[in-house]
């Protein structure tokens, strides 16, 4: 044997040993795979860059505590850039990887995949997105909004306005400022029917995308319409422009409420800081702020690794929403493992697991959800946090409003 061939043989043996080690390392842990679609790039990256790491942090926390009944949780993440074709590709890819459930990001992506979810029996959460009618679990068996839909949010905002304005809205004027796209227009049926039953006057102000210029709307609202309350449903950069504009026009921000995508720290900062936005009300479907045990556990986990907690944690609103999404997933898998008897759960079993989530509050970060086979929204709980002294202060407890109106709308919504 020549030196060369001996060297080759040694190399081959080394490679073979390495491969065996690698495959042993891969095969060892019992792992449950979750498919997350997220976008760290694209038009909504302002949310995704915080939301996606939060979900990964939660999986890591669960795994560091031994996983779920011995199963490790891994979240495969694909960036769909808020576009539909990449979302289709991501869905097929994660399905092929054998994920037991998915989380989608974005309304167009959710509606585009809706038919496939049912066909493939793939339980999927879409918190804060998708059509509000998906709250009806009998019609959309595999889609779980799990958080308050835009309809429940609108109802909550009106209820809050009513309480703020002395318990009656009769003869009051409410302005609805919305991003001029389907998501922005979605709450309108609820506002319309509440306008009739509560007797207030409603005027809508459309903000065309991207909504970085709204001087005309601000003037219209503050100088001509003089509303008693303003409900804002804006996305991206536009909430900060509106906050700044209303403040500049002298409108009291204590009488302004932003729905969930106008409610993050980033919006406050972009509006010119906490001082400018003082008094602004935000509507949340996950608790805001730092004061939750799970956040302390994650910080401790990082500390144990000798690292600083990541800066994304400071954006508490969006980060906590990521924790909510991941926590609901893990809780559903925990329930599903009970149903499957410790085996890797199937799609329908995870669906059942999701439908058994009751009063899982994660130390107050998650509302007292009651997800049932008929109600995939979990009740439509919201909570108002007010900007006060440089942070979000809880203004109300978890509440839900006008359930009869919302449920009627869900039941009679045209399937589209």
């Amino acid at each position: 044997m020549t030196v060369l061939s001996r060297g080759m043989a040694g190399l081959a043996a080394g490679v073979a040993a390495g491969l065996m080690l690698a495959s042993a390392a891969v095969a060892q842990p019992k792992e449950i795979l979750i498919g997350d679609q997220c976008d760290r790039t694209g038009p909504t990256q302002i949310v995704g860059t915080v939301l996606c790491p939060a979900m990964q942090d939660y999986y890591k926390l669960i795994n560091s505590q031994g996983g779920v009944d011995g199963w490790m949780i891994r979240g495969d993440e694909i960036d769909n850039q808020y576009q539909v074709p990449p979302a289709i590709e991501a869905y097929q890819r994660q399905k092929q990887m054998g994920v037991v459930m998915m989380t989608l990001y974005g309304t167009p992506q959710t509606v585009a995949l809706n038919q496939r979810l049912e066909q493939d029996k793939m339980p999927t959460t879409s918190p804060g997105f998708g059509i509000a009618a998906a709250a009806d679990g009998t019609r959309f068996p595999y889609l779980f909004p799990i958080a308050a839909t835009y309809w429940s949010q609108a109802a909550g905002a009106v209820k809050f306005a009513k309480d703020k304005l002395g318990g009656s809205l009769k003869g009051k004027k409410i302005a609805y400022v919305y991003y001029d796209n389907p998501a922005g227009k979605e709450p309108m049926p609820i506002l319309d029917s509440l306008q009739k039953s509560e007797g207030f006057q409603l005027r809508t102000f459309a903000v065309p995308p991207p909504g970085v210029e709204m001087g005309a709307q601000i003037l219209d609202i503050t100088q001509r319409y003089h509303p008693d309350f303003v409900i804002m449903h804006l996305f991206g950069r536009s909430p900060s422009v509106a906050i700044k504009g209303l403040k500049g026009a002298g409108y009291p921000l204590t009488h302004v409420i932003g729905l969930v995508w106008a409610s993050a720290e980033a919006d406050i900062k972009a509006a010119g800081g906490w001082g400018v936005a003082e008094g602004y009300n935000t509507l949340q479907f996950a608790g805001a702020g730092d004061n939750y045990p799970v956040r302390q556990q994650i910080k401790a986990m990082y500390k144990k690794e000798g690292k600083e907690p990541p800066a994304t944690m400071d954006d508490t609103v969006v980060y906590n929403r990521g924790l909510l999404q991941a926590a609901i997933q893990v809780e559903a898998i925990k329930n599903a493992l009970k149903i499957s008897g410790g085996q890797k759960p199937t799609g329908p079993q995870v669906k059942q697991g999701l439908e058994q989530i009751h009063d899982f509050t994660l130390g107050g970060l998650v509302p007292p959800l009651q997800i049932t086979p008929a109600d995939h929204e979990g009740g439509g709980w919201v909570r108002i946090f007010q900007v006060h002294d440089g942070k979000f202060v809880a203004e109300t407890d978890w509440f839900r409003a006008y359930r009869d109106v919302v449920e009627h709308a869900v039941k009679t919504a045209e399937v589209d």
Partner: protein, 355 residues
């Protein structure tokens, strides 16, 4: 295609215009067709077939845009809007009147062609970049209309769910079934385009692109042919929009926004203006490149980055690589992938005796 064409002497116009320059070309086309129509559906997994489905839809749209931009020289940034016209026309016909696919698809195409005709009217007076702005306006107007006219969009959501197409009583549910369904229309579109560009109309388009005043002097009615180009191109776009809606099971206006128009423009520019094969290559390139870069990064990114960093790096690096590769290919061959392919072919045709 990939044959050596030694000894090909064309002695008549008919031979020059023939679809297949050599008898053997028929066999190689048949071979490629058999590969994609028989072998691929039988062997590929569902995931890869779903990728091909996205490509097939893009091919139809890119072929149409290339007729307008590549063959006739009229720049359009309204492809996404024309697709949405087709999609919503079909969606309304399907959900309100219960029309089958063989009515809905041509109807969607025809409605898009009609709208394209109207949008094309300014093209007689304005050219080049100015026309591009006019089509951009059309894109925004059509988007706005669909968003606000609920009679078209079917509600504030502006999305209409449509059932799966059924062919001979079989409801097409699986990716492979839809693949064959889409493939049928892609083949139709390819054959139609190959014949169109060799016809009187196609030659008139090229004459207008190359020098419109000269074309007018030799007797081509410029106004009429420019409108033809807009109508035909929009017809393809409309059909692509209907096919995409069938594939997704929903017509949603957010899937036809301006970024889609720009993607299609990128496909024809990268693929090669005025070439049928270029449209196909461009559609494949723009659709699959972002996916392929992620496969690459998923496979090798772990060697450099930790898991948490990797999740942050992959989506961003993917955009960088995507942009860089587009620049790379355009620098290597400004006339697109089609020209690159022909250069390679020419090189090997005389290889190894290149002198």
């Amino acid at each position: 295609m990939f044959h050596r064409e030694a000894g090909v002497f064309k002695t008549s116009y008919a031979a020059d215009m023939a679809l297949f320059p050599l008898p053997i070309a028929q066999w190689s086309v048949a071979g490629v067709a058999a590969l994609f129509i028989v072998v691929v559906p039988l062997t590929f997994s569902e995931y890869y077939v779903s990728l091909l489905n996205l490509v097939l839809i893009a091919i139809v749209g890119a072929l149409g845009l290339n007729i307008l931009v590549g063959n006739t020289g009229q720049v359009s940034i309204g492809q996404g809007a024309f697709m949405s016209v087709g999609a919503y026309t079909a969606a309304n016909l399907i959900t309100r009147l219960g029309m089958p696919f063989w009515v809905a698809i041509p109807a969607g195409g025809l409605m898009a062609a009609f709208v394209g005709l109207i949008v094309g009217i300014p093209s007689l007076r304005i050219k080049g970049i100015y026309l591009a702005i006019a089509t951009l306006a059309a894109q925004l107007i059509i988007e706005w209309t669909i968003n606000h006219v609920q009679w078209i969009s079917g509600g504030v959501q502006a999305s209409i769910e449509i059932p799966r197409p059924s062919v001979f009583g079989i409801v097409l549910k699986h990716e492979v079934q839809i693949y064959l369904f889409l493939m049928f229309f892609v083949v139709l579109a390819l054959v139609a385009t190959l014949n169109l560009v060799r016809s009187r109309i196609g030659r008139a388009f090229v004459a207008i692109r190359d020098q419109d005043i000269a074309a007018e002097i030799i007797g081509i009615n410029i106004f009429r042919y420019k409108l033809y180009a807009f109508a035909i191109s929009s017809f393809y776009a409309g059909v692509a929009g209907v096919l995409e809606s069938y594939y997704l099971g929903i017509a949603n206006y957010e899937q036809f926004q301006i970024d889609v128009s720009i993607d299609y423009l990128a496909m024809v520019i990268i693929g090669g203006l005025g070439s049928v094969l270029g449209s196909v290559l461009g559609a494949v390139f723009v659709t699959l490149l972002p996916i392929a870069t992620r496969w690459f990064l998923d496979a090798f990114g772990g060697l450099i980055f930790s898991h948490a960093d990797l999740l942050n790096v992959v989506p961003n690096l993917r955009l960088v690589i995507f942009g860089a590769l587009i620049i790379f290919f355009l620098v290597v061959e400004p006339e697109g992938l089609n020209r690159l392919w022909r250069n390679i072919r020419t090189y090997f045709r005389v290889w190894p005796f290149s002198y």
